[in-house]
């Protein structure tokens, strides 16, 4: 089966807002969150989408 779309990881500054099976990366500042998301985007070959200022998800399309 080929997975069409999947959340590979979430990057957040507010840990209590994210749960689930995908990896969650907790960051202290917005800058750190952006840096981690940029790295993950390149590593996982997914796209970093912003759901809010505190939460990014890396999605495989």
């Amino acid at each position: 089966m080929k997975m069409e779309k999947a959340i590979l990881a979430s990057v957040t500054t507010e840990e209590n807002r994210v749960h689930g099976s995908a990896a969650v990366f907790k960051c202290d500042t917005k800058e750190e969150m952006e840096a981690v998301a940029a790295n993950l985007e390149a590593i996982l070959d997914g796209i970093a989408h912003a759901l809010s200022d505190q939460l990014y998800i890396i999605v495989k399309h």
């Binding site: 970093a48 989408h49 990014y56």
Partner: protein, 294 residues
């Protein structure tokens, strides 16, 4: 040498010449290679021979020889498969793929051109044998003109108006004019997109056209043609940098977001206007009578 020699030679020559005429490597770069061209020229030659031979066979009352034409038909269906397979294989390695609809369109064109060659050779030989060489040459010219006409389908500029529109971000959402394209989270990606991206809006000229340009294959063809011609600012590890087309559900307009290496809006507009309207994408809802709908 017998009475059929010259008509057969003329038929084959005209048929092969027609195939050469229809085999132009244009900006879409297919077929690019010499070997690819040789395949098509050889098949064109075979098609011309088949079309030509039919007439003398009938004149000699060898009617069974016409069954050769059925052989030709299955042979050229194979051409379509060959083209489809090659292009599909290659497509997965393109930065911006052609898409299946475009590939199918190209494959069908290759098959049908061989039939045009058969038909031309058939008519030319028939005219030569039944009348004389001058009529045959006249028929050849008519066939060339006809093929030229049949070959050029319509272009996007026939069915839509293309306008350049600005791209903008509303939070993380990327917009072309007021059409939502995608969510780009990272500020550095947003900067790259603002720097390299361009937006166009295609407005349908009439109602029937809406479903044609909404076709995903047609949209992919637009993106592919633009990316091939102007280059594309993306690589295999940067999935966020992807040219996309989205539709405005309210009025059927489509927003084209592209990332050309060469940011030349005039040229980009021209290229979009010259994208072929894919046969398989054309739908004609307005042809359905309204009387049964009440």
């Amino acid at each position: 040498m017998n009475e059929y020699t010259y008509p057969i030679i003329l038929g084959i020559l005209v048929g092969t010449a027609l195939r050469v005429f229809m085999l132009r490597t244009d900006y879409r770069q297919y077929p690019t290679y010499l070997h690819g061209k040789i395949i098509h020229l050889s098949l064109g030659f075979i098609a011309a021979a088949l079309g030509t031979i039919a007439i003398p066979s009938i004149m000699e009352k060898e009617f069974t020889a016409v069954t050769f034409l059925t052989l030709a038909a299955s042979q050229f269906r194979e051409v379509r498969n060959m083209e489809r397979n090659t292009l599909t294989e290659m497509d997965s390695y393109e930065l911006v793929p052609r898409g299946n609809t475009y590939i199918e369109g190209i494959a069908v064109a290759f098959e049908s051109r061989n039939y045009l060659v058969i038909f031309t050779s058939f008519v030319v030989t028939l005219c030569y044998l039944a009348l004389n060489i001058w009529v045959a040459l006249g028929a050849a010219v008519v066939c060339f003109l006809l093929s030229g006409m049949l070959m050029s389908g319509s272009k996007l500029s026939d069915i839509v108006t293309v306008e350049e529109k600005s791209i903008s971000f509303d939070g993380a959402g990327l917009y072309v004019d007021n059409i939502y394209i995608m969510n780009i989270g990272l500020p550095e990606r947003q900067e790259e997109i603002m720097k390299y991206g361009m937006g166009f809006v295609l407005t349908p000229k009439e109602f029937s056209v809406r479903s044609t340009i909404a076709n995903l294959g047609q949209r992919q063809a637009i993106l592919h043609d633009v990316s091939v011609t102007l280059g594309v600012f993306r690589d295999s590890g940067t999935p966020a940098l992807v040219p996309l087309i989205k539709r405005d559900l309210n009025d059927g307009r489509i927003g084209v977001f592209i990332l050309p290496q060469e940011k030349d809006s005039k040229r980009a507009k021209e290229i979009i206007e010259h994208v072929p309207v894919l046969e398989n994408a054309i739908q004609m809802p307005s042809k359905k009578g309204r009387r049964n709908l009440s």
